[in-house]
């Protein structure tokens, strides 16, 4: 059973506090932390109708918040590749991605998508549930009704298939 929008709205304030705490720990600027928290809440809002009600929504919110923080941070690094006063003041500068690296990242993402398209629908579903949604085997079993041993076998088969295909394409 999936969560509804009204259910999400009911816990949104509590989730926002959690998400804001994560982003405040990451960013020294209050505005950046607010931006990251807002982005995380927006993503959760869009995704909430796909979240199982049994799932630990707070854990998911923390993961999404961390992702949003890292995305915003990398975006800022790309916007200001040279060190400026703000980034030096933050004292945690990470080398920004060059255009070549961005192109490579785009290529590898396309490669992965093409490889995932080769999977059977059921394999793709289970692969996504593990990799994209970050669900554990127990959670997948409770959502799909498939026995855990079967899930493990199917996820393993899907991963090996993707791995083999990726290696083949990367070496071409």
């Amino acid at each position: 059973m999936y969560m509804t929008r009204s259910q999400f709205e009911h816990i949104a304030a509590q989730l926002r506090q959690k998400v804001l705490k994560i982003s405040t720990q990451f960013f020294s600027s209050r505005y950046d932390a607010e931006d990251a928290a807002q982005e995380a809440m927006e993503q959760l809002w869009r995704y909430c109708e796909h979240i199982d009600t049994d799932r630990n929504i707070e854990a998911l919110a923390v993961r999404v918040a961390k992702n949003c923080c890292v995305s915003l941070y990398r975006h800022q690094q790309r916007q200001a590749p040279t060190a400026n006063i703000d980034t030096l003041a933050r004292n945690h500068q990470e080398p920004g991605a060059s255009p070549q690296q961005l192109l490579e990242a785009s290529d590898t993402q396309r490669l992965l998508n093409e490889t995932l398209d080769l999977l059977k629908p059921r394999e793709r579903q289970l692969f996504d549930m593990r990799a994209v949604m970050g669900l554990s085997t127990d959670e997948i079993a409770s959502q799909t009704g498939i026995p855990k041993t079967s899930i493990t076998a199917m996820v393993s088969a899907a991963r090996k298939k993707v791995f083999t295909e990726l290696i083949k394409r990367m070496k071409q």
Partner: protein
């Protein structure tokens, strides 16, 4: 995490047996490598965006924490700073206290008292009674304080 540990986790991942926590550890380990072999790059791609973002967050936070921990002064340095500060405050206080004390008089000189010669004290004893009693009393006193009488006698001789 060693390369052997990473490979063990990769094998476990491909077998579908890793927990989300182990996948997070694997992602962190792969992100710390600068140049990954093709097989590990493929695994890194498969680990999922959520896990990669979470691992990157944790890595950045741990780097910051280690950086801030290394920039913290050691306990000995803190203690030395505290002691030197306390000593400086004490010295300043002492200086101010000395300034507040009244200055000694500059014209005060040592002038020893010149004792004026006084007449020798007359003995207040052996003044009553018969002459014999007075004489006996005097002799007894002389026996009791021979040095004093010796000095008195010497002074009389000098005079």
């Amino acid at each position: 995490m060693t390369n052997k540990d990473i490979q063990t986790l990769i094998n476990k991942f491909l077998a579908g047996l890793t927990s989300p926590q182990e996948e997070l550890q694997l992602t962190q380990a792969l992100q710390q490598h600068n140049s990954l072999p093709a097989e590990w790059q493929a695994i890194n791609l498969m680990l999922g965006e959520l896990t990669q973002g979470e691992a990157a967050y944790d890595t950045i936070m741990s780097q910051r924490n280690s950086h801030s921990a290394s920039s913290k002064p050691s306990a000995i340095l803190v203690a030395l700073r505290f002691i030197s500060s306390a000593a400086a405050i004490y010295l300043v206080g002492l200086f101010i206290w000395l300034q507040l004390q009244p200055a000694p008089k500059a014209q005060m000189t040592y002038t020893p008292k010149i004792e004026q010669s006084k007449p020798a004290p007359q003995p207040a004893y052996c003044t009553e009674g018969t002459p014999r009693e007075i004489l006996m009393c005097y002799i007894e006193h002389r026996k009791a304080q021979p040095d004093t009488y010796k000095q008195l006698k010497q002074m009389n001789n000098e005079n």
